[in-house]
C-alpha cells in the first residue's frame, strides 16, 4: 500500500463531503488558529518590546527607587517607603565605581512648551551631560546638553522631533526661544525621529540640564541613575560596586534586602517574558481543549466513514489487503484530514495576526516554528484519534464486509 494512494483517497473523500469535512475540522481549525494567532502576536510583541520599548543598551544598568513591576500590596507599601535617590548618590557612585565607563541621572516631569501662539504638552526631562551617551540618543540637528550647561544651569533645551514639527513647521528651531513652564529656553538641538510605540509617539519630549530642572521643580524628587559598563562582561562588576555604595549610604544591614531597584535590558525583558508566558499558557490551554474536542470529532467521522465504506474494505480485503494495509489507509486518511484542518487553521491564524497588525499598533510576526508546530500537532491529533476507527476497519471480517449493504 502506498502513501500517495492513501492521501489521494483521503483528499477525494474530503472533497466528496465538503460541508461535513468542514464541520468535522472546525475543532482542529479553531485550536490551531488560536495557537498561531496568539503565538504570532506574542512573538511580534516580543520583538517589538526588545527592539522598540526596552532600547537600553546591554551594558547599561538603571538604578531607581521603585521596582518596575509591583505584584502585591505589601510590595507596593515597601516600595513607597523607600528613600529617594538624589544627585548626591550619583556623585558617590561616580567616585567609587571603577568599572563604570559613564554614570548619569535623569528626572522627569511634564509641562507645556510654547513658541509664539503654538504650544504642546510634553515630557520635560532633566539630564546630566552623560545621559545621551548612555542611552545612545541621536540628534537630528544641533547639540546635546553639555556639562557646562549642567554646571551653570543654563536655560537651554533639546526638543523631540514632534515638538519641533509642531512648534516650528516652517523655520529652523535651533537658536529660537521657547517657553517651558513660563521660563524662556533656547533650543540648542532637535532629537532624531524615533517613531511611535503602541500608538504613542516617542518624539514628544524636551530635555533640559538636570540642575535647572531641580531649580524649577525642586531637588527632592527621586532621580533615575544610569551606569554604563562599556561592555557586557563588566556589567556584573558595575552592579556590585553600585550596590555596595548605595547600601552603605542607605545604612542597610547585611541581611536586609536592597531598597532600590537595579535593572538591565535583560531583566526588563525577563519581566516582559513572565507576562507573555502567562498569556501563552492560557492560550495553550484553550487550544489544547479545542484540539482534543476536534480529535474526538475526527474520530467520530472516521467511524462513520468506516461504516459507510464497509463494502469497500471487504473488496480490498478480498483482493489481498492485509490488516496493516487497511489500518495504514485509514490512519493516513484521518491524519490527512486533520492536517487539512491544521493548514486551514494556520492560514486563518496568520490572517488574524496580520489583520491585528494592520488594524492596531500591535505588531505580529508569524514564526515558521509556530506554523510547523501547528501542522505537526494537528497531524498527530489526527493520527492518535484515527487509531481506533482504523483498527475497527482493519479487523472487519471480509465475508461480513462484502455482504454489507
Amino acid at each position: 500500500m502506498n502513501f500517495r494512494e492513501s492521501i489521494f483517497i483521503a483528499l477525494s473523500s474530503l472533497r466528496a463531503n465538503r460541508l461535513r469535512s468542514l464541520l468535522t475540522l472546525l475543532g482542529i481549525v479553531i485550536g490551531v488558529m488560536s495557537v498561531i494567532a496568539v503565538v504570532s502576536i506574542i512573538a511580534g510583541l516580543n520583538d517589538y518590546v526588545a527592539n522598540r520599548i526596552f532600547t537600553l543598551a546591554p551594558d547599561v544598568v538603571t538604578i531607581s527607587r521603585m521596582e518596575p513591576i509591583i505584584e502585591s500590596m505589601e510590595d507596593w507599601i515597601e516600595n513607597a517607603r523607600r528613600k529617594n535617590l538624589y544627585l548626591a548618590d550619583l556623585d558617590a557612585i561616580r567616585d567609587v565605581c571603577n568599572h563604570c565607563k559613564a554614570v548619569g541621572a535623569s528626572v522627569g516631569s511634564s509641562a507645556r512648551i510654547k513658541y509664539g501662539r503654538e504650544y504642546v504638552g510634553s515630557q520635560i526631562q532633566g539630564y546630566t551631560a552623560e545621559i545621551p551617551v548612555i542611552l545612545g540618543d541621536e540628534l537630528h540637528a544641533g547639540r546635546f546638553i553639555t556639562q557646562y550647561d549642567v554646571d551653570h544651569a543654563r536655560n537651554v533645551c533639546v526638543i523631540g522631533f514632534d515638538v519641533a514639527d509642531i512648534l516650528f513647521p516652517f523655520v529652523d528651531p535651533i537658536g529660537k526661544s521657547v517657553t517651558i513652564d513660563g521660563r524662556p529656553f533656547e533650543v540648542v538641538g532637535v532629537g532624531k525621529k524615533k517613531g511611535s510605540v503602541l500608538g504613542s509617539s516617542r518624539d514628544n519630549w524636551a530635555t533640559i540640564p538636570i540642575s535647572l530642572h531641580q531649580k524649577i521643580w525642586g531637588a527632592y524628587q527621586s532621580v533615575q541613575i544610569y551606569a554604563k559598563a562599556g561592555n557586557e562582561e563588566r556589567l556584573p562588576a558595575v552592579q556590585d560596586e553600585v550596590r555596595l555604595v548605595l547600601r552603605a549610604r542607605r545604612h542597610l544591614a547585611y541581611s536586609a534586602k536592597d531598597d532600590f531597584a537595579m535593572n538591565t535590558s535583560k531583566s526588563f525583558l525577563q519581566i516582559w517574558a513572565n507576562i507573555s508566558r502567562a498569556f501563552f499558557a492560557v492560550t495553550i490551554g484553550i487550544a489544547g481543549i479545542s484540539l482534543v474536542v476536534g480529535g474526538i470529532v475526527v474520530m467520530n467521522i472516521m467511524l462513520v466513514s468506516v461504516t459507510e465504506r464497509t463494502r469497500e474494505i471487504g473488496i480490498r480485503k478480498a483482493l489481498g489487503a492485509r490488516r496493516k494495509d487497511i489500518l495504514l489507509q485509514f490512519l493516513i486518511e484521518s491524519a490527512a484530514l486533520a492536517l487539512v484542518g491544521g493548514i486551514i487553521g494556520v492560514a486563518m491564524g496568520a490572517s488574524i495576526a496580520m489583520t491585528v497588525t494592520w488594524l492596531t499598533p500591535l505588531p505580529a510576526s508569524v514564526k515558521w516554528w509556530a506554523v510547523a508546530l501547528g501542522l505537526f500537532v494537528s497531524t498527530s491529533v489526527g493520527l492518535f484519534f484515527g487509531i481506533y476507527p482504523a483498527k475497527k476497519a482493519a479487523n472487519l471480517d471480509p465475508i461480513e464486509a462484502l455482504r454489507y449493504e
Binding site: 500500500m1 473523500s13 463494502r311 473488496i315 483482493l319 489481498g320 492485509r322 465475508i399
Partner: protein, 247 residues
C-alpha cells in the same frame, strides 16, 4: 494421491467441515467435503440457496478457514493459515468475480483493475501497464478512464474480470457472475469465461442456475452441506442469445 497427477492438482480438499454455533445449536454448513480440481478445469459448483455452496466458495476463496479438514491450494496447505497469510494467498492465487461486481465506485476502471497489484507491491508504472493489458483482454481499453456508474452492467462485470485476471491467479472464482445481468449480457460473460478457459485459466463458477452451470466442463452439486454429485459435463455450445439459451 497419485504422484504423477500431483503436480497438476490445483485444489485438494480433505474432509472439510464448517460448523457454526447458532445459540445452543450447531449448524453444519459443510460436512465431510472432499474433492480435487485440476489445473485448467472449468468447474461449476451448483446448489440451491442454503445448500452450503457459498460457505464452500468462501473456503476455496480463502476468505474463511474450515472448522475441520484440510485444504491444499497449489500445493500449499491453506486451511491452517492466519489472516494476513490468507490475504497474501487471495492476492496471488485467486481472482474473484462477484455477482454485484464489487467495484470501487469512486475509482476509474483502470484504477479498479490496478487494486490487486497495489497490494502485491507492484510499482506504479508496471501497475498501469499490466492493468491496461488486462483490460485489453476483456476488450475495454476504450473505457478504462470511466467510473463504474458510467459503464453498463456487462462492462462492469468485464472490469471485474479484468481485475480478477490482473495478478495472473491460479484460479478465477466467480460467484453468480451473471446473476445481476440480463440474459444476453450474461451470455457474453459466459463466452468470455470460455475464452479464458481455452487460454489455460482454471475457472470455478458458483451458481444456482442449471443453465449457467451447463456451460462448464464439470458440475459439482452441493445439497445440505454435502457433495450430492460430481460429474463431467459436455458444455453446450454457446449460441447467439437471439436463438434462445436452452442447452
Amino acid at each position: 494421491m497419485a504422484d504423477s497427477a500431483a503436480n497438476n492438482v490445483l485444489i485438494r480438499t480433505e474432509r472439510l467441515w464448517k460448523t457454526y454455533q447458532m445459540g445452543s445449536a450447531q449448524v453444519h454448513a459443510l460436512q465431510d467435503v472432499t474433492f480435487e480440481i485440476q489445473r485448467n478445469e472449468y468447474v461449476a459448483i451448483m446448489g440451491p440457496s442454503g445448500s452450503g455452496k457459498s460457505t464452500l466458495m468462501n473456503l476455496i476463496g480463502c476468505l474463511d478457514t474450515p472448522t475441520e479438514g484440510k485444504y491444499w491450494l497449489n500445493e500449499k496447505l491453506v486451511s491452517k493459515m492466519k489472516d494476513d497469510e490468507l490475504a497474501h494467498i487471495r492476492n496471488k492465487e485467486i481472482g474473484f468475480v462477484f455477482q454485484t461486481f464489487n467495484l470501487l465506485a469512486r475509482s476509474t476502471a483502470l484504477h479498479n483493475v490496478e487494486l490487486p497489484l497495489i497490494y502485491s507491491g507492484v510499482s506504479s508504472k508496471d501497475r498501469t501497464a499490466r492493468a491496461q493489458e488486462s483490460l485489453a483482454m476483456v476488450e475495454l481499453t476504450d473505457r478504462m478512464h470511466h467510473k463504474p456508474n458510467e459503464l453498463s452492467g456487462g462492462q462492469r462485470q468485464r472490469v471485474a474480470i479484468a481485475r480478477a485476471l490482473v495478478n495472473r491467479p491460479s484460479i478465477i472464482l466467480a460467484d453468480e457472475p451473471t446473476g445481476n445481468l440480463d440474459s444476453a449480457t450474461g451470455e457474453e460473460i459466459l463466452k468470455l469465461f470460455d475464452k479464458l478457459h481455452s487460454e489455460g485459466n482454471t475457472i470455478i463458477l458458483v451458481t444456482h442456475e442449471r443453465d449457467i452451470a451447463a456451460s462448464t466442463h464439470r458440475i459439482i452439486s452441493i445439497r445440505d452441506g454435502r457433495i450430492a454429485s460430481d460429474e463431467p459435463n459436455t458444455p453446450r455450445i454457446p449460441v447467439a442469445p437471439a436463438a434462445g439459451s436452452a442447452s
